[in-house]
């Protein structure tokens, strides 16, 4: 039986800082991009990852503001749906399938710096 925990409820979160993520841990994921939102207040990337059991899982990775990323060479076309991608970042403290991006590696090996140390 699966019991879904309503882990975090209350007000709708918006701009929110990095507190939901464990800055002491780094996780690496390889997967296929299913969505890329280059909008405020935080850029959000959804990636389909195959887990150890061969099952597909959706992970939500977020980065800094698109404004900050624009000043670091990103734009809304830099990542596309279907791209094979590697994400490195801090996982959610609550064990959810979330990541605060610290580095993105594109299929061609090009690395993107999300500059997410500040927000």
């Amino acid at each position: 039986m699966i019991i879904v925990l309503l882990a975090i409820s209350g007000p709708v979160m918006a701009h929110h800082g990095a507190s939901p993520y464990d800055a002491k841990k780094l996780a690496t994921l390889k997967g296929t991009v299913s969505d890329f939102q280059f909008i405020n207040p935080h850029v959000v990337l959804t990636v389909e990852v195959t887990n150890d059991k061969g099952q597909s899982e959706s992970w939500i990775a977020e980065a800094n503001s698109p404004n900050v990323l624009s000043r670091h060479g990103w734009d809304k076309n830099i990542i596309k749906k279907g791209d094979e991608i590697t994400l490195i970042g801090n996982p959610g403290k609550n064990g959810s399938k979330t990541l605060r991006l610290q580095k993105v590696v594109l299929a061609n090996g090009h690395e993107l710096d999300p500059n997410s140390l500040t927000d």
């Binding site: 879904v4 918006a14 701009h15 929110h16 800082g17 207040p41 977020e62």
Partner: protein
């Protein structure tokens, strides 16, 4: 008849003197209007500025992200009692309580907390006003430099009421009339409605600006305290749209994908 000529002559002289006076006065006005002191001698702080983080410490400034509290003052007992709650609530490890910080619900950040955010601002100088146009959620600070007093008939206000005056090359900005709904920083330092912020803004070289500010809130702190920030001019940048609320439904800390793993 003779008297009439004398009267007419005196009238002509009077008109000449009067018109000469009017002309002189008009000339004086024309002379002063284009060279009013504010137009020619006001220092220029205009431009797009980004608070320097990288390398700030090397230049003798702090690289603030969370708070300005390195040289803060002891709190008064009421403020310390508030801080005991806000610090554990907003600066702890529990995302649920940390995210309840009003700033993360898109309430205005107040002053000087708005400087903690990693977004540039543009200074625009127009007669009688200095405008600070913040990228962060489109906030505008309107600093009146025309000599008017504080507007204490409004508020209390989230961003306070600001008036300014030039002291040499420095714009001295005086801000009062704050509400007490904001915190000074992400660590949770509180303030009261007695908060009085004085900022001294000046170029330290062509591409850099310093803002030194003092926080004076006798209801919350036993003495005034503050620090200095450094900003770099960014002539190639533009102020972009930045909206606190937008993709919150995608971030969705209420959504299934971001919930803790299910228990079996």
């Amino acid at each position: 008849m003779r008297n009439r000529w004398v009267v007419q002559a005196l009238g002509v002289v009077a008109i000449l003197i009067l018109s000469s006076t009017i002309s002189a006065r008009s000339q004086a006005q024309q002379d002063t209007t284009p060279t009013a002191p504010a137009a020619s001698s006001t220092p220029d702080l205009s431009g797009i500025w980004s608070r320097l983080r990288d390398g700030a410490m090397a230049r003798g400034y702090e690289n603030y992200v969370l708070d300005f509290g390195k040289n803060d003052s002891p709190m008064t007992p009421p403020a310390a009692a508030i801080f005991k709650v806000t610090n554990s609530k907003y600066h702890g490890d529990d995302p649920k309580t940390v995210l309840s910080d009003p700033i993360f619900q898109c309430f205005p950040p107040g002053v000087p907390r708005i400087y903690l955010y990693n977004f540039p601002m543009q200074i625009v100088q127009i007669p009688g006003q200095v405008l600070m146009l913040f990228e962060y959620d489109h906030y505008i600070r309107r600093i009146y430099t025309d000599g008017r007093p504080h507007d204490m008939e409004q508020g209390p206000l989230w961003m306070g009421d600001s008036i300014g005056k030039w002291e040499g090359d420095t714009l001295v900005v005086d801000t009062v009339n704050f509400n007490d709904k904001t915190l000074l920083d992400r660590v949770g330092r509180p303030h009261s409605t007695a908060l009085h912020v004085v900022e001294r803004m000046r170029r330290i070289d062509h591409n850099s600006m310093e803002i030194a500010f003092t926080i004076d809130d006798p209801k919350s702190y036993t003495k005034p305290w503050g620090t200095k920030l450094i900003f770099d001019q960014k002539p190639d940048w533009k102020i972009m749209e930045q909206v606190c609320e937008d993709n919150s439904s995608f971030l969705g800390f209420n959504k299934k994908a971001t919930q803790a793993p299910a228990k079996k």
